[in-house]
Symmetry: C2
DNA sequence: CTAATTTAGGATAAAAGAGTCCGATTATCA
DNA sequence: TGATAATCGGACTCTTTTATCCTAAATTAG
């Protein structure tokens, strides 16, 4: 979302992002790296390096992000943990759960980063996580 | 579900349950114990001991079980992990997620163990978990 | 070419979770 | 009253997840 709200003609270094959002450097680095490997972001090393969007923010959906970070196995898995989920051998919740699961899937596919960024424009700093970790500005040490 | 399908005039020992369902003894024991502490089941030590339902199977809902096993924090938590979830300070997904979250909540509250047991009556043995663990019948050792 | 900057990614550490084991406790029966 | 059959709950182990750190590689400025 932060990257989506930035002008895209140059790269954004991790340090800028983490200081603005007040989140830990290495934490953000791993996430950005992961999204870049999936092609959602592009990265560039060196002097003017950093991260930028790999595709238009209207094209990046929550589904893509969940897929890159947590995986989307849940769309196929039995909610009770049975080895297979199928209509042939349904568990006690199969029909009920399938309905909710489909709704969530559709929601993930529908929500784009562009849309979300628009909605959070005014409160992006609220992204600071639940626990108050140290962020770059006051970080104890880094060369 | 297994207990709901049994006549309730005497207790069911863990061993009987785990052999019928082909699941590991200690695994089931911990779960049963946990449900008993919450009052969903009753337990009795000694000779004719075992577990039984603590309340009518029509009164035990999925919500009660999730509450006892995994917790139901998710009904209050921000899906993006912000420290608080509220309409005053909503995240980019607040409205969208609230809707799904409510549906899932209602589903959990609606589904009773009685209903589920009825539906799985014929395939309860399918409860054997994803990975094929050893179960009591062939377990390597226990006094 | 060299120094500075910045990401890449493997290694390590820390934390959480799942599953197992075992001694203690409780109840029943002969 | 002693032997036996059970659960109870803490300790322990194993695996997975999360977070951090560190060195290498890439890029650019001078
Ligand atoms: S079989 Fe359980 S959700 Fe489909
Ligand atoms: S504020 Fe994020 S779900 Fe309510």
């Amino acid at each position: 979302m932060y990257l989506a709200l930035k002008r895209s003609d140059r790269m954004t270094p991790i340090k800028e992002l983490t200081q603005s959002l007040r989140i830990p450097f290495h934490f953000a680095a791993k996430i950005l790296q992961r999204l870049a490997r999936k092609g959602l972001l592009v990265s560039l090393k060196g002097r003017a390096g950093g991260f930028g969007l790999g595709v238009a923010p209207t094209e990046i959906t929550l589904f893509h992000i969940v897929e890159a970070i947590d995986g989307v196995e849940f769309t196929r898995r039995c909610v009770l943990g049975l080895p297979a989920c199928s209509v042939e051998n349904p568990c006690a919740l199969h029909e009920t759960w399938r309905e909710e699961r489909d709704r969530i899937y559709k929601m993930l596919v529908r929500k784009s980063v562009a849309e979300m960024a628009r909605e959070m424009k005014n409160s992006l700093h609220g992204l600071a996580a639940t626990k108050d970790k140290d962020f770059d500005g006051y970080q104890t040490n880094h060369s």
